[in-house]
């Protein structure tokens, strides 16, 4: 009796545990089945390398190169903001801050991570964009630059907390050895601690990038939304995520436009999957290097 019950419970948990795998597979299948038809309807090269995105014109154009380039541009911009801020903050919190400072700073960073993306988008739209428009004297404030800035700030806590984790894994003996050899704290930091935590920090950077590529509401509200090949950081652009969010409501199910938005989703999904896999491989190596095992 007891044994039977135990067996049933074990089976129940085993089945439920595979749910996350089921959902991942489900998402993949959905994206493929709703997205792939576009490659037939438009053609793989015309879709990915097409320079014009006019899905509602007659005849329509379904080229997503402007959207891909916009996502790429905004992500690079965000990395330029979040890497120095995030890694710098993590170094400060972990290596320089006194105990009391750390107790205050860590929760603040964590709270920053909890601010919803819509709030960043709203703030960017009503405060940052008009401000940049005025001081930079540009025709519209909603540009790739504004998007990069807001995304960068959003991704900073992600980069910071993962880098901080990596730094806390560096054994104290590394620091002591460097100090014993006469290195000062800065030398220890740059020549011993950063190299030792390097791959852990790069995991944080990659996951921060992954967050920036996939972020939707912020870019939707602050990048302006012009679907043209981006030529400057100070012009409106339309990244992939905001294209899906802005246009999905207006499409007819089963139309080429509908399929093309799913195909964009598929490309986004594959990009973030790639980032995650790279991050996973690097973090595994990092753990092996410091002898932490798995």
């Amino acid at each position: 009796m007891y044994q039977k019950k135990e067996k049933i419970i074990r089976w129940l948990f085993t089945i439920l545990a595979f749910s996350s795998l089921l959902f991942l597979v489900g998402i993949t299948l959905t994206l493929f089945s709703s997205g792939l038809p576009v490659f037939q309807e438009v053609g793989l090269f015309d879709f990915i390398l097409g320079k014009d995105w006019y899905p509602t014109y007659d005849p329509p154009d379904y080229g997503i190169l402007p959207l891909i380039l916009a996502s790429f541009m905004v992500t690079i911009g965000a990395v330029l903001v979040c890497v120095p801020l995030g890694v710098g903050s993590a170094l400060f919190v972990n290596e320089l801050a006194t105990h009391r400072q750390r107790v205050i700073l860590k929760p603040i960073i964590e709270i920053l991570a909890g601010v919803p993306s819509i709030v960043y988008g709203f703030f960017g739209m009503v405060i940052v964009a008009p401000y940049l428009q005025r001081i930079l004297n540009i025709p519209v404030g909603q540009t790739a630059f504004t998007g990069s800035l807001m995304l960068g700030i959003m991704a900073t806590p992600t980069v910071c907390s993962i880098s901080e984790d990596a730094l806390s894994f560096v054994p104290n003996s590394f620091r002591e050895a460097s100090m014993a050899l006469g290195g000062n704290r800065w030398q220890t930091l740059t020549k011993v601690i950063i190299p030792a935590a390097g791959s852990g920090i790069s995991t944080g950077i990659i996951l921060g990038m992954s967050r920036a590529v996939g972020e939707t509401m912020t870019v939707l509200m602050v990048t302006g939304g012009a679907a043209v090949i981006p030529t400057s950081f100070f012009k409106p652009v339309r990244p992939m995520t905001s294209t899906i969010a802005a246009e999905m409501g207006k499409t007819v199910v089963g139309s080429t436009h509908y399929h093309s938005l799913f195909a964009i989703g598929l490309i986004l999904f594959l990009i973030t999957l790639l980032f995650n896999i790279i991050a996973e491989i690097i973090s595994r190596r990092f753990r092996l290097k410091l002898g932490l095992g798995r």
Partner: protein, 285 residues
């Protein structure tokens, strides 16, 4: 350059990094607070919108967000907990665990708008739930599942092995041990993870964009199959739709403030809970 000056400059630089980060947080909260506080009133949080979104309150949006969050949690907490229990208490180590762990990690990295697409194709269209609380809750629930699993797993792993051994030695079965010994002592940790997830779900917009949210409903939702207004979506809609931009911006500030208070109090609560647990387990061990 002199070694000491270099050190000073380097430290200054790092200090500047953290100051800038905190400055941005401060300025966002400051602006939302100062400009949103004017819109807040008892009427604002208890009344329905009136006069084409330029007057009245946002109560349906608050209620909608509550329902969506509740629905997502009802779905994701049992499932996430079961998954975590399997991974930490039952699973044979190795291959299967690795597959599940990798899929959880990758699920966590999927962009929120892609969850929205999935919800649209599966719940709204395939299962025919339509744009509804149910579709939105399920989509949000799947999105937040990985964070619940990893929080619960961490809490379960923190339970000392000796507790399990003691219970098993007394003749309890594995399930009895889990239910009566492991889960109760992991509960505070699980709770922290759940609270953090609630904050995250309440603030998400992209997954409900095409699965649940709408700009305006006449009153409150009356079934799980109704469309709802939701706070985060309402902010977006106020800024992009409608014909009274100035009035709507004022209301959007109010919505943003309420959302921020909601989400930040959740994360503060979680942080306090965790700190307490830490100090307790410190004395306990």
């Amino acid at each position: 350059m002199d070694k000491k000056i270099k050190e000073k400059l380097g430290f200054l630089l790092l200090f500047a990094c953290i100051l800038t980060t905190i400055f941005f947080l401060g300025i966002i909260i400051y602006f939302i607070f100062v400009r949103g506080i004017g819109a807040l009133s008892w009427e604002f949080i208890t009344q329905v919108p009136r006069e084409a979104m330029t007057a009245g309150g946002i109560a349906p949006a608050i209620v909608g967000t509550f329902y969506l969050t509740l629905g997502a949690m009802v779905f994701s907490i049992p499932l996430g907990l079961a998954c975590a229990i399997y991974l930490s208490e039952y699973s044979p180590q190795g291959f299967i665990v690795n597959i599940i762990r990798i899929s959880i990690n990758n699920l966590a990295g999927v962009p929120s708008v892609v969850f929205g697409l999935f919800g649209l194709a599966i719940f709204v269209k395939f299962f025919g739930f339509g744009v509804s609380i149910l579709s939105g809750s399920l989509t949000l629930g799947i999105m937040v599942l990985p964070s619940i699993i990893s929080a619960a797993q961490e809490a379960l792993m923190a339970v000392p092995q000796s507790y399990r051994e003691a219970s098993l030695a007394l003749g309890a079965t594995l399930w009895e041990t889990i239910r009566k010994v492991v889960l109760p002592s992991a509960l505070p940790g699980i709770l922290t993870g759940v609270i953090l997830s609630i904050g995250r779900v309440a603030g998400e917009t992209a997954p409900i964009l095409f699965t649940a949210a709408t700009f305006y409903t006449r009153g409150y939702p009356d079934s799980v199959f109704s469309e709802v207004m939701a706070l985060p979506y309402h902010i977006y809609a106020l800024m992009t739709e409608g014909v009274h931009p100035e009035e709507q911006t004022r209301i959007a500030y109010g919505c943003a403030l309420i959302l921020l208070i909601l989400v930040l109090s959740m994360s503060t609560l979680a942080i306090i809970l965790r700190q307490r647990q830490r100090s307790r387990s410190y004395y306990g061990s």
